[in-house]
């Protein structure tokens, strides 16, 4: 099984470890609910070193990425990050990712751990099939450790360890600087809906960066956070998770990701299929549901309207903030746009589910 540079730290902290897509990762330390609350009220530190990093450079790096990804890379300036996706010709999603522009001819893609090899192979294949000759692809996943420092006091903690002016790094921007003397990419991004940073450093420096942050963060209430709370935090904000809201069989347009799908930017992989699907009318749409009585919706549970199955839950949990069952569900487009009352089939019961505007937790 793959291990991040922080594996021993998690074990020393008594984390419960699980196999997460081939990675030995902490699912919880003190408990999912306590960890979730720490991130919403103070701050949490996540080891996300399992995420993959792919460097794309060269004179045609921009043109290649503009063709390979769904969002408009021309909108990016140096030091800016963009949420985007790689799609198949069918319009289904290879992966969702964040794209970092270091220079007009140098970019870094941060991709999902379990898709990292697939993404790299896909980009290599795409490069072979096209005319972009001046592009270099390097899989740098093993070279980086990545920590996410998230929560309302994240900036206060980080400021103790860096002379970089954090107020100068706005949301979805990044700078390279020293944190606790370690060369770090300081990115004001995250997957929790709170203010915070994703910090990339050399794999060998990961443990020191973690320890320094935990030491300084202690008086701020900083807690280590596992994958369990990472999932409840992102779901309360309705952020898509690959393999759930988006897959090879689901188009970004169906998953409320039209905002990263720039059909007017020019040709890109999957565009033709998306235009066709859009013209014909999308068949499915992602909606948000809240259980008003009791019950916890789970992935795969059916969504029903008048006893008829109209879709399924893509992600569901008990929201630690709302103390209610919340779900994202992919349903027939006509149902999504109607006001028909919906239910979620939970075992033998059909439980009323209220349509909810996103995010679940403002």
């Amino acid at each position: 099984m793959n291990k991040t540079p922080l594996n021993q730290i998690h074990r020393q902290l008594g984390a419960r470890m699980v196999d997460f897509g081939g990675w030995d990762m902490p699912v919880q330390y003190s408990g999912v609910i306590a960890e979730h609350k720490a991130v919403r009220t103070t701050a949490g530190l996540f080891d996300v070193s399992h995420m993959g990093e792919i460097e794309v450079s060269g004179g045609q790096a921009f043109d290649f990425l503009q063709y390979a990804t769904t969002n408009d890379v021309s909108k990016l300036t140096d030091g800016q990050v963009q949420y985007t996706a790689l799609c198949y010709e069918t319009g289904g999603v290879v992966d969702d990712l964040t794209l970092y522009r270091f220079a007009a001819d140098r970019y870094l893609l941060c991709v999902n751990a379990s898709n990292s090899d697939k993404d790299f192979a896909w980009l290599q294949e795409l490069l072979k099939k096209t005319d972009f000759s001046d592009v270099t692809l390097i899989n740098r996943s093993a070279e980086y450790a990545q920590l996410a420092l998230q929560g309302p006091v994240a900036a206060n903690i980080l400021a103790k360890l860096t002379s970089t002016d954090l107020s100068g790094i706005s949301f979805y921007r990044f700078e390279e600087g020293l944190v606790a003397g370690i060369r770090t990419i300081i990115s004001r991004t995250g997957y929790t809906g709170e203010d915070g940073f994703e910090l990339y450093c050399a794999a060998a420096d990961g443990v020191t960066l973690w320890q320094e942050l935990m030491k300084v963060g202690e008086s701020f209430g900083l807690q280590p956070i596992g994958l369990g709370a990472r999932d409840t935090l992102r779901l309360e904000k309705a952020y898509a998770l690959y393999g759930h809201e988006i897959t090879a069989e689901i188009m970004p347009l169906e998953a409320r990701l039209a905002w990263i799908t720039k059909l007017k930017k020019g040709d890109f992989v999957g565009r033709e299929a998306m235009l066709k699907a859009k013209e014909a009318g999308l068949l499915r749409k992602l909606i948000a549901l809240t259980i008003t009585t009791s019950g916890v919706p789970r992935e795969g549970y059916p969504v029903l309207s008048g006893g008829r199955e109209v879709g399924y839950v893509t992600s569901g949990t008990m929201s630690p903030s709302l103390k209610k069952g919340i779900a994202l569900a992919l349903v027939d487009a006509a149902v999504a746009e109607s006001e028909e009352p919906l239910e979620i089939g939970i075992r033998k019961r059909q439980v009323p589910a209220e349509r909810t505007s996103l995010p679940f937790v403002k």
């Binding site: 609910i33 999932d231 916890v296 789970r298 949990t317 008990m318």
Partner: protein
């Protein structure tokens, strides 16, 4: 981890308190620890009859759904009505406030298959 001596245990990590022909059932300290934060509990209705091995309830943590099985056959005579509103009692007090149901035994023979505390402790360590 706490395993009271006066209880019997199952391989599904339930505990059973036997008082004449009435048994009280819950999940063990080990089970609640493995599950993590429990956020939802579903119980049967008083009057339901259960066969040994039947699913009688559901316990859900933030991450997972687990069935709970009847360790013996009988009729449900009482349920812990406070539990659905306070599922965290299963974490905080698995043997006391976290009890789930009481059953009236139809066949006391099944009790012989349950583990005593020493056997259960050994079972947990092996698990």
């Amino acid at each position: 981890m706490d395993f009271p001596k006066d209880l019997k245990y199952t391989e599904e990590h339930e505990w059973v308190l036997v008082e004449d022909d009435i048994v009280t059932i819950g999940v063990t300290d080990f089970a609640q620890d493995q599950l993590g934060d429990i956020v939802f509990v579903e119980l049967p209705e008083v009057g339901d009859t259960l066969e040994e091995g039947d699913t009688f309830g559901v316990v859900e943590s933030v991450k997972a759904v687990s069935d709970v099985y009847a360790p013996v056959s009988g009729e449900v005579v009482e349920i812990n009505e406070a539990l659905p509103d306070e599922p965290e009692a299963l974490n905080n007090s698995p043997y006391d406030e976290g009890w789930m149901i009481k059953m009236k035994l139809t066949d006391s023979g099944a009790l012989a298959d349950l583990m005593d505390v020493a056997a259960y402790q050994a079972f947990v360590e092996k698990d």
